[in-house]
């Protein structure tokens, strides 16, 4: 086997640097495109209404390891008209999915509070589906001072 030309050696170096970068997290490698794909799977590409989903997230999160999130969807939660699913994705985490919540009329209210990890400043997008097939959405931008995915 012949030895590498300088050009090939440089190219190899660049490739392995890229690979090393991909191993870093907190670099928010999930492009907004990944989050959009996750949302498209949930919505089937159908249009979404805004105004009925309220997201509570801090504007600035000091600690990306535990960011409080709460979601309320305006819905009567009756047997005929209730939220069935809520999808939460983040467009700047190594992987976009955060959680998928399922509700029933016995939930009483379509609301949920939890704590999430955000690798860096990004948008959190919420999409809710109702029993009639309506899709409701909202999103919030969060600035994260110390990213948290374990790094």
């Amino acid at each position: 086997m012949r030895s590498l030309t300088r050009r090939e050696a440089l190219a190899l170096g660049a490739m392995s640097a890229t690979a090393a970068l991909a191993g870093l997290h907190g670099s928010g490698q999930a492009a907004p495109a990944d989050a959009a794909a996750e949302i498209a799977k949930f919505t089937g590409g159908k249009p979404q209404e805004t105004g009925r989903v309220t997201i509570e997230l801090p504007e600035i999160a000091e600690n990306g390891n535990a960011v409080p999130l709460s979601i309320v969807v305006d819905s009567p939660m009756t047997a005929d008209n209730h939220v069935t699913d809520i999808l939460v994705v983040a467009d700047g985490n190594p992987s976009p999915g955060i959680a998928a919540f399922k509700f029933t009329p016995m939930s009483g209210r379509a609301e949920i509070a939890t704590r999430i990890r955000l690798a860096g400043s990004q948008n959190v997008v919420v999409v809710a589906r109702t029993s009639s097939g309506a899709l409701l959405t909202a999103q919030r931008q969060v600035k994260v001072t110390i990213g948290g995915c374990g790094g």
Binding site: G23, V67, A99, A100, M106, S107, G108, I112, I116, C149
Partner: protein, 107 residues
């Protein structure tokens, strides 16, 4: 076994009342993103499912990803029409299950 799950909900309620349920379970939620001191990726090990039923009927459930913070906190609501028992279960990537239950008296 040490108690791993904590539940907070009212002991009683009026028929038709919507109560708030707070749950907390101890779990590292190892994201699969961290590296150990030798630079090797620590494998993911998280709780990926939670379910709450009341008198055997589903109330609320969810699928969780590694972006849920360690010691997962889940707060949600339930409309109670009768007395009974809430059952809670958390399942991790290996299929291990943590369960808890709480009764409520509805008048």
């Amino acid at each position: 076994m040490a108690e791993k799950a904590r539940i907070k909900l009212p002991k009683d309620a009026k028929r038709g009342e919507i109560i708030q349920i707070k749950t907390l379970v101890a779990h590292l939620m190892e994201s699969g993103q961290r590296r150990d001191k030798d630079g090797k990726l620590i494998p993911r090990m998280i709780i990926n499912k939670f379910a709450c039923t009341f008198n055997g009927k589903p109330v609320f459930s969810c699928g969780l990803e590694s972006a849920v913070a360690a010691n997962p906190y889940l707060q949600f609501s339930a409309k109670v029409e009768e007395s009974g028992t809430f059952k809670f279960s958390w399942i991790d990537d290996d299929g291990n299950t943590i369960t808890a239950e709480e009764t409520i008296s509805v008048v």
